[in-house]
């Protein structure tokens, strides 16, 4: 496009920071990077559902960080005199079979949920990224070997494999996390490999090779940054599934053990009272639903912002 383009935004208006961030000639790498992030945020902001999703995730993080302060009662303080109390001004979401405040337990349970999510993401995403980019870049027999291993893991149903691992390692939240992480990485490896193969023959990779860049530098500095965005989107969208798997293991008694206020375990203990005291099981269920929805909305929004195919046009 030549100069007949008439910009009505974004430069020229807005505050000082706005203008600094959108400067067409940034003065440092730092400013350029921040400007790019800010532009992404401006695009993201236009998707209202994604902003709601982000709000839910921020609320989850805040609840986890401030749990002891905002929770009205301690999570594990039984009071049998008020067991299975319905919703009231004292206990907004009622109490469970041991008279513990459900709201407080959900708030404290957010820590466990976040713990699972973060650990799975830290373990599974980098493993998948590394295996996928190396396989895609190297090609040949290394690609064959790595991808067949990936296929083996991919062939097991997720929950069954997790069950097998937990059965072998013993129940507990850490083992549940390891089990979920082991089943979560293969799709990421697949995505990263597919992206790498399309990038591998790009001219900018050839140019870097002609400068003498070795495979490690190429994969780390040139290939991975381009795989990252689709991976982030996928991981975010997978979060809902990971929460559900963790809750499922908890429900089956193989994840977090009582009296930990894990949401899945809470539903499990509430199912005995399902018909008469429905809130005991329903409230943690709603929490799982809302957080899963939040991650899905956020993932959709991120896809719009980060999708590399829409870039540079």
């Amino acid at each position: 496009m030549t100069t007949q383009v008439k910009y009505t935004t974004p430069e020229g208006q807005g505050g000082r920071y706005h203008r600094w961030l959108l400067a067409s000639a940034p003065r440092s790498r730092y400013q350029a990077r921040l400007g790019r992030a800010y532009q992404a945020w401006l695009t993201f902001r236009q998707n209202r559902l994604a902003v709601i999703g982000l709000g839910i995730i921020i609320a989850l993080v805040a609840a986890a960080a401030l749990a002891p302060i905002i929770a009205p009662y301690p999570p594990n303080a039984p009071d049998l005199s008020i067991r299975l109390a319905p919703m009231s001004a004292e206990h907004w979401l009622g109490t469970d079979e041991l008279g513990r405040d459900i709201l407080s337990r959900i708030i404290h349970g957010s820590r466990l949920t976040l713990y699972v999510i973060v650990l799975v993401a830290i373990i599974a995403a980098p493993v998948g990224l590394l295996i996928g980019t190396v396989a895609g870049y190297a090609g040949g027999w290394l690609d064959m070997v790595l991808m067949r291993i990936t296929d083996i893991f991919l062939a097991f149903p997720k929950l069954i494999l997790a069950l097998a691992f937990v059965a072998a390692l013993g129940p507990g939240i850490e083992n549940a996390i390891i089990a979920i992480a082991i089943t979560a990485w293969p799709p990421y490896a697949r995505i990263a490999r597919a992206e790498t193969i399309t990038i591998r023959n790009a001219d900018f990779i050839k140019a870097a090779r002609l400068q003498g860049a070795g495979p490690a530098r190429l994969i780390w500095g040139h290939v991975m940054p381009l795989c990252l965005s689709s991976l982030i989107v996928r991981v975010t969208l997978d979060m809902a599934g990971i929460i559900l798997t963790a809750a499922g293991l908890g429900f089956l008694g193989l994840g977090a053990q009582p009296p930990l206020p894990e949401w899945g375990a809470m539903i499990s203990s509430g199912r005995k009272f399902m018909l008469d005291q429905w809130w005991v099981a329903a409230m943690p269920g709603i929490a799982i639903f809302v957080v899963s929805l939040g991650f899905n909305l956020l993932g959709d929004g991120l896809r719009d912002v980060l999708d590399p195919k829409a870039e540079g046009q």
Partner: protein
């Protein structure tokens, strides 16, 4: 500076093998401007890929600056020989700033003084320091190609391989980039090999020109021969007349040098 003897490249194996370059030989002296012209599939870009080290399956001998080249090249080679690609939209990393793009080779070769080198390289290709921290998507096609030239020059190479460097650009921008390349050649005493399908561009830039068709150099000639309209080979004559514009009579006389066999 560059001597190529009996270079052959074959794509694929066995029954599917397609000869891309067949027993090609040529030589370029230091400071020379050598052009390779041909239509798509003639093998001209394949030769550049062999010279640069991107293609590692070839036969024959390639000598650059007195050193017989193997398939695998070392760091010292890459410092000496650099390449500029055709598509300015595909040859810059979309997530790297101009600064990162230019300092990457400096880091690889551990040359030091990265910032000073980057600013100097930008200046040399006619871009101000305000371009330093931009991303490629904030640049026009011509500016991107200047960045690509700067990236090639930052290692201070002696040989520059140019693969259709202006084919993707508008004619006015093409003129600017060609002028830039001409100026750099004079200032730095570089050796150029320019590959293009555009006879006028090659004739403008180069002294000696190889005409390729179907993997073979069918004629090597000086630019004066083109100006005199006196090339020997009928294919070259045809290419020459075609590049002068449309002429209904001339088209009727076009010979098939095995084009359009689908």
């Amino acid at each position: 500076m560059i001597t190529v003897r009996d270079l052959s490249v074959t794509f694929g194996r066995g029954r599917r093998a397609v000869p891309a370059v067949q027993r090609v030989s040529f030589a370029v002296e230091a400071g020379g401007l050598y052009g390779i012209v041909g239509e798509s599939g003639s093998g001209k870009s394949t030769i550049l890929n062999v010279l640069s080290g991107l293609n590692r399956r070839w036969r024959g001998s390639v000598t650059i600056d007195g050193d017989r080249q193997a398939m695998q090249r070392d760091l010292a080679f890459h410092k000496k020989v650099q390449m500029v690609f055709q598509d300015p939209y595909g040859s810059l990393h979309p997530r790297h700033t101009v600064d990162r793009i230019l300092s990457e080779p400096v880091a690889i070769h551990r040359l030091g003084q990265s910032a000073a080198r980057v600013v100097k390289a930008l200046e040399e290709v006619g871009l101000g320091p305000e371009f330093r921290f931009r991303y490629p998507h904030q640049l026009s096609g011509g500016q991107r190609q200047r960045v690509a030239v700067a990236r090639a020059l930052i290692l201070e190479p002696r040989i520059l391989l140019l693969d259709e460097p202006t084919s993707a650009l508008d004619v006015s921008v093409q003129a600017e980039v060609l002028n830039l390349l001409t100026g750099l050649h004079q200032r730095r005493n570089l050796t150029y090999i320019l590959v293009s399908h555009n006879l006028a561009v090659v004739a403008h830039m180069c002294r000696r020109i190889a005409v390729m068709n179907r993997g073979v150099i069918i004629e090597e000639l000086g630019v004066e021969t083109l100006r005199d309209r006196s090339p020997q080979h009928p294919y070259t004559r045809q290419l020459l007349s075609a590049s002068l514009g449309y002429d209904r009579q001339a088209v009727a006389m076009l010979e098939e040098f095995d084009m359009d066999a689908y």
